[in-house]
């Protein structure tokens, strides 16, 4: 893997971790119903991304 590729994927990790931290803050204080609803939305979003990967 080239240095540029390593930097690219490291940047991906940093972005994923940052986004996870933001999400962790956002879910604080949410009710169980809201958390279940949010999880459903996020799993659906994940499904959408996987469907896109399969189409390409």
């Amino acid at each position: 893997m080239s240095k540029e590729e390593i930097l690219y994927w490291l940047n991906v990790i940093v972005q994923l971790v940052q986004q996870d931290r933001i999400r962790a803050d956002e879910i604080v204080g949410k009710t169980l119903i809201e958390l279940v609803e949010l999880a459903r939305t996020e799993w659906d979003r994940a499904q959408g991304e996987v469907d896109k990967l399969n189409v390409v």
Binding site: I6, R23, L32, V36, G48
Partner: protein, 178 residues
């Protein structure tokens, strides 16, 4: 001086007992924590999928490798959806969030089997990847790996008895022995 040390020890023991009993008996807090982890795992999986799509779009990842990754992610997503449905059922059955220990234990076991285990398989696959196969997801999945470690650390800290099976799945260690 000796008194201060004794007092400090007593305070420490009191805090440990409070933490253990509090976390073990408060099923509402435990279920909230599990539901929160489910949201974060779902979000991370979606973000990882989006990153892979972007990488394919930018020509940094071949469509074939993108599809391989999609296959692995699909197993995680199937588990996540099932776990969310199970949470929803529990919520309908116990709207206050006060769940009997046996059901809470069952929920943790399901979460462990259908969400965490596929993620661990995914991580192991990338641990075993070599050469050209190593050049993409092995780095990207580290965000998932770091979150799995976080769950493991938190379980170790809180010592929730119902989550012993999940902790074992995460770390291969006995929760009671930590």
């Amino acid at each position: 001086m000796i008194f201060t040390k004794q007092l400090t020890s007593l305070l420490l023991i009191a805090v440990m007992v409070f933490t253990f009993v509090g976390s073990g008996c408060d099923s509402k807090a435990t279920i909230d924590q599990l539901a929160g982890w489910n949201v974060r795992l779902a979000g991370l999986t979606a973000d990882l999928g989006a990153s892979l799509n972007r990488a394919v779009g930018e020509g940094r990842l071949s469509p074939q490798k993108g599809q391989q990754a999609a296959k692995a992610l699909q197993v995680v997503i199937n588990g996540g959806k099932a776990a969310t449905a199970a949470l929803n059922e529990i919520l309908k059955k116990y709207p206050t969030g006060e769940i009997p220990q046996a059901e809470l234990k069952g929920l943790f076991t399901d979460f462990s089997d259908i969400v965490i285990k596929p993620i661990k398989v995914l991580l192991t696959q990338f641990d075993l990847a070599t050469g050209e196969d190593l050049d993409y997801l092995s780095l990207a999945v580290n965000a998932l790996r770091s979150f799995i470690s976080e769950i493991s650390r938190r379980l170790k800290k809180s010592g929730v008895p119902e989550a012993a099976y999940l902790y074992n799945t995460l770390s291969g260690k006995e929760l009671n022995n930590v």
